[in-house]
Amino acid sequence: MRREIPTAIAFFVGIICIIQFFIPHRPFGTLVDVFSDWFGIVAAFAIWLGALNLLKVSLERSLSKKKTHDRWYGLVVAASFFLIFIIGMFMSGGDQFQVPGSRFDYLYVNIYTPLSSTMFALLAFFVASASYRAFRARSWEATLLLIAAFFVMLGRAPVGDQLTGFMPEGYRLSEVANWIMTYPQVAGQRAIMIGIALGVASASLRLILGLERSYLGGE
């Protein structure tokens, strides 16, 4: 029962979703509309699960008997969670919590935004460092990759056209970059896209038919 019912649910829901592409009327279209709403609700609970699990792990870590610095960081995670939770749930005007000027918005602008933005901004340094260390023209294929990257990087910045301003129109770096992006790049990308699409389709079919059940875990 622990595996059969979930497999049946996946099969039933999946088949209905497929049929409604061909028969978008009642009952299939209506059923998928209902499923779409349910999907949003269940997905919201899944997000809650993630957040609550993080809280659980952090609190367990901060209350553990091992005297490591990690305890304090666990406490900081939990305290930060409760800070935005209390402000968002009880101190920001209910469902007007994200209106500009609310306390929740203040936290969003001054804490969430700088932390998340800087975390991702650091990648700029690591991209540069990795380019220096790992980007080698070891083979014909790697050289091709390097050449395409050079043209796109120079052509997609104004400096490219400044360097090749003396060239006739159509041969400047921005135009070469446009050509790479529109033709050979699109060709390669389409091959990848079609390959992935066929993979997704076959994986979806396996999931719906119950041939692939690894998502149910062990036991």
Binding site: F81, P184, I208
Partner: protein, 229 residues
């Protein structure tokens, strides 16, 4: 509005700047200041998502209609359509049972619903938008003429390039046959196109990452230090 008060604006900007610099200290090496900022980020992010999903999805789509439905039973005229909301509500609660080790298996039901729904929708949309339409776009008349009947060599070449590149690339992804002989040579040409694609993607990735850093530097220099406008 209270947060428009210059004192709160200044305080907020300083908090944002200090958190920005705190995360940036990682560039030197991993350190307690970075770890503290990272922990704040993790906690704040989780709390942000928790609160957002409560007010924007769970309450308007589950809480309010459920409450309104139950109210009709007591106040009348009674309506029973709200009972159907018990299904997603129950599935959601079953999902949360994953937090209880012994009852974790119950979460398979909502998980199966999510997997079935996603697989059903993606099966057709990926085939339609990412396979069929892309094949259709790649198989175009190769020989092109303009309105006065003049042969357009460069345009024809470009269209041929896309067609050849797409199919050669697909040959490379065909793993059930060994890449030898003519097949292998075509697959090799496919890798050249894939390399150009990866090169362009790399160029764009550099652009993207640098943009994000420029954004943070602009915040520090303009909003915090007022050194630039």
């Amino acid at each position: 509005m209270w947060m428009d008060h210059p004192g709160w604006v200044l305080f907020g900007t300083w908090v944002a700047a200090l958190f920005t610099l705190g995360i940036a200290t990682f560039l030197y090496k991993d350190n307690p200041v970075y770890k503290f900022c990272e922990a704040v980020f993790v906690g704040i992010s989780a709390g942000y998502w928790f609160v957002s999903y409560f007010w924007q999805t769970l309450l308007p789509k589950l809480g309010y209609p459920f409450y309104a439905g139950v109210k009709t039973v007591f106040v009348g005229p009674a309506e029973w359509g709200w009972l159907v909301l018990l299904i997603p509500g129950t599935l959601g609660m079953m999902m949360l049972l994953r937090l209880v080790p012994k009852a974790g298996w119950i979460a398979r039901w909502p998980l199966a619903f999510i997997v079935g729904y996603t697989a059903g929708l993606r099966l057709i949309t990926f085939l339609q938008s990412n396979a069929m339409t892309q094949l259709q776009n790649s198989v175009q008349p190769v020989v092109r003429y303009n309105e006065s009947g003049q042969f357009l060599g460069w345009e024809s070449f470009n269209i041929l390039l896309v067609t050849v590149g797409t199919f050669a690339g697909l040959f490379y992804f065909f793993f059930s046959q060994e890449h030898k002989g003519v097949f292998g040579r075509v697959a090799r040409v496919g890798t050249w196109f894939l390399m150009i694609t990866f090169g362009a993607a790399f160029g764009y990735t550099v652009m993207g990452r640098m943009s994000l850093l420029i954004g943070r530097l602009d915040f520090l220099l303009a909003d915090w230090l007022h050194l630039i406008r």
